[in-house]
């Protein structure tokens, strides 16, 4: 097999891996062809689940496994895949970065397709710089922080970052554009345009859905993603070289890899083609020491060298590679930052003193401390939620919980018999529960209360029972009492006044979602009373 073939093998693997990632991302939602056979006796045990392994890339990611193990003392589902990647790295180096990582593939493609830098400037940009130590700083910072109970790896983990950016910003953004287009076409009276609409919707709906999907702070998630992509114009694969904590972790594991870059300085003609094509700024040129921990094993140098002055070879004699250039500052700085951040994160009192009333976690979520140990902030629950209620937090969970999930009832509501979010959570921060458990326990995520000044019947403005009508529990947690109130014109108005029975209310928020008073509804849901927290109970059962 020639080197050229190996490079093509890498490109094909990268393409397949990226496509598979995007496929799994797109199918992280309830499909439209889902149904249950009603002739089989129904029971609440039958829960709707996704058929595809949507968490596969998170299982493949050693950083997810290691940080969950350090902070939550938990082996995540499918962690053996991650162990496999570690073993692969011990033998072959950072092949995950070069061959498998979907975010790396995107950076690679952007850097390769119409590069900004050319000639000598590209050679200069591809030389190793001290800035590449930042990723080790970030890795140490994140892992030490995780060990001390605050797992923020998901903010920078490439798989979580890519999933969050694409699922919460790119896909909803494109979807909103398409939906507006379809709506404009459907509203026109021109038949051919309507025809286009129905056709377009059949194609687009499986990917984008039939409704607008919106996420709090999605603009920022998208903007950050654009910035990270733009950095490839400064230096190729800027993210992978300088910032990626997973790359740093795999770089450390590659210390003893047996696949090594052999150099033959006598053959080198100083053409610098190897540096020009180097993805990792790993000093491939003969005469320099090969930086194993920076090398993505993209095989470009091997392929382009016209004199065969460099070659990847298996060397089985035990000889450790050049040690990763971590640097004392990154080591010490990362350690100090990692030690301080979990405590800084608690200074706002959200964990120890009080929790924000708006912080309603998805059903099945662990208690807050354990939740922050495991949540990767990847957005998988938010993508999968059929009602779009799960959103990334901004300040509601404090700094420590930035971009963790919370339910915004004005955007959606937690459907009574739905337990999809827990079934897709890669780390188990949201536990998988059955609809039966959710209903029979009952599992409360919060409580509703009536704002009598806004409520239509309470304020004498109109009869209305919408909250009670939608209440899903049996018997209903919202009950009505017949009464007579004074209408604005001074006449008596017969109404049914809504009350909330806190013992029955599960905090699903459908009342808030459907309340005719829009924006700030007359019945609202707060986190108080949630089952997962002992401190947050309201009444003695």
């Amino acid at each position: 097999m020639k080197v050229r073939h190996l490079v093509w093998l890498r490109r094909i693997t990268q393409a397949i891996s990226l496509c598979f990632f995007l496929y799994l991302l797109i199918v992280s939602r309830l499909p439209q062809d889902i149904y249950q056979d009603y002739s089989v006796a129904f029971s609440t045990d039958q829960d709707l689940r996704l058929n595809q392994p949507v968490t596969f890339f998170f299982q493949l990611d050693p950083l997810v496994s290691i940080s969950s193990l350090l902070s939550g003392n938990t082996f995540v589902r499918g962690f053996l895949w991650a162990a496999g990647v570690v073993v692969l790295t011990l033998v072959l180096g950072r092949v995950f970065c070069g061959f498998l990582c979907p975010l790396g593939t995107i950076h690679h493609a952007i850097s390769w397709f119409r590069p900004t830098l050319k000639g000598n400037r590209l050679v200069q940009a591809n030389r190793k710089t001290p800035a590449q130590r930042i990723k080790y700083f970030l890795l140490i910072f994140l892992l030490v922080g995780a060990l001390l109970g605050l797992n923020m790896t998901g903010l920078l983990d490439p798989i979580a970052l890519l999933f969050r950016s694409v699922a919460l910003a790119v896909v909803p953004g494109l979807g909103a554009g398409l939906l507006s287009l379809f709506k404009a076409l459907a509203d026109s009276d021109i038949h051919i345009l309507r025809l286009l609409t129905y056709g377009g919707e059949l194609v687009a709906a499986p990917i984008f859905g039939y409704t607008y999907h919106v996420f709090q702070s999605a603009w920022f998630i998208g903007l950050l993603f654009l910035v990270i992509l733009f950095l490839n114009r400064v230096r190729p694969r800027f993210w992978c070289r300088t910032l990626c904590p997973l790359g740093a972790l795999l770089g450390i594991f590659s210390r003893i890899s047996v696949l090594k870059l052999e150099k033959y300085p006598q053959k080198c003609t100083e053409c610098n083609l190897c540096i020009k094509h180097c993805q990792g700024a790993a000093s491939p040129k003969p005469g320099q020491d090969w930086e194993t921990s920076e090398c993505h094993i993209c095989l470009n140098c091997f392929n382009v060298c016209p004199e065969d002055a460099v070659a990847f070879k298996f060397t089985w004699a035990f000889k450790p590679n050049r040690q990763p250039d971590i640097g004392k500052r990154a080591l010490l700085g990362g350690f100090l930052a990692g030690v301080s951040i979990p405590f800084l994160g608690r200074l706002d009192g959200r964990v120890d003193k009080f929790s924000d009333p708006r912080l309603i976690r998805p059903p099945g979520s662990l208690p807050e401390e354990n939740f922050l140990e495991l949540c990767q902030r990847c957005g998988l629950c938010m993508k999968a939620c059929p009602t779009n209620v799960i959103n990334p937090t901004v300040g509601e969970a404090g700094m420590a919980g930035f971009w963790t999930p919370r339910l915004i009832m004005t955007l959606g509501y937690c459907e009574f018999t739905c337990t999809l979010c827990g079934s897709v959570c890669p780390t188990g921060a949201i536990q998988e529960i059955t609809a039966k458990e959710k209903i029979e326990k009952p599992l409360k995520i919060g409580s509703a209360y009536v704002d009598r000044g806004r409520c239509l019947p309470w304020s004498g403005n109109a009869p209305c029972i919408v909250c009670q009508e939608h209440c899903p529990t049996s018997p209903k947690a919202i009950y009505l009492r017949n009464d007579v109130v004074t209408a604005p014109d001074g006449k008596e108005l017969k109404v049914q006044l809504p009350f909330v029975d806190l013992k029955r209310c599960i905090g699903c928020g459908i009342c808030e979602n459907k309340c005719p008073v829009r924006g700030l509804p007359a019945i609202r849901t707060i986190a108080a009373g949630e089952t997962r927290s002992l401190k947050n109970q309201i009444i003695l059962f």
Binding site: L30, P31, Q32, D33, I34, Y35, Q36, D37, Y38, S39, F42, T44, L48, L179, F182, K183, L185, A186, D187, H191, R194, L195, T197, Y198, G199, E201, L202, A205, Y210, T211, P386, T387, E415, F416, T417, C418, I439, L456, A462, P463, C464, I465, V466, Q468, E469, H470, C471, P472, T473, S474, P475, K476, L480, Q496, K514, C515, P516
Partner: protein, 315 residues
Amino acid sequence: MNIDKFMTRRESIKTLLKISGCLSLASSTAWSSKFTATAGATSPKSGFIVEGIGETPDYDVKELVRKTFEAAGGMTKFVSKGDVVVIKPNVSWARRPELAASTNPQVMEAVVELCQDAGAKKVRIADNTIHDARRCFALTGAGSVSKNTGADLIYPRSSLMREMNLNGNRLGAWQVYVPLVEADKVINLPVAKHHSLSVLTLGMKNWIGAVGGSRWLLHQDIHQTIVDLAQFFNPTITMIDAIRIMTRNGPSGGSTGDVAQKNMLILSDDPVAADARAALLFDRQPNSIGHIRLGQKWGLGTFDFQKLEQNTVSL
């Protein structure tokens, strides 16, 4: 739109052409006539009412549907060859069938099959659900019905909502779910259940699931708005599923304790009479329920269903 299997590109294009052809044709006729066709509903007619009762312990629900339609003269009386038939079930809530929050899927399946046997070109199932449509269709069995029969299950979406003039007493322009007006024949297939404001959710109340927009506003004058919607949508025929009925905690229910087994189907071409008969199952006097009383007042039909041609079949 058949949700059970992926379409080939060719199939989807063919379907599309057909759908859009029908829709545009129907819409152009509908627009030009400004829905004056609904005026026909206002003249009281001498209709019929058929009760199908399942008496044996393990009767076949689908057979009961067939017998009930036979007693009314057969489905061919209502559906002609080549018709586009739209069935409006009540599948608003993502609940399993035995909780009686949604139309019995066996009844739905039998009605779809009868329409197909009568030569309908296309049978569609359309409801603008309250819960997420995918979960509603999956849990209520509507998805399964569509898979078994090949009927189209239409996903509610904003491009299928169009503002139309309802010409009602209380309601004017409103967002209407297009598949329900762009059809040759419409069959109303509700389930009988309790409702906290309108007292009962029967045939006429089912039309709230045929509109979009700010539906919560309808609750502020529920009985009149129900009648306005019922005169607008004016189905060819109404069959009320009272195999299981929800007697309390309506309209969403959620417990088998709220469900009573009545083993009954009510078929009528008079929407008010069908509702009136079903009200008796809940021990309610028809004229004590606002929208049934108003339905007669506005000429949609009569709640004195005894005056109609009555027929009973049992199995």
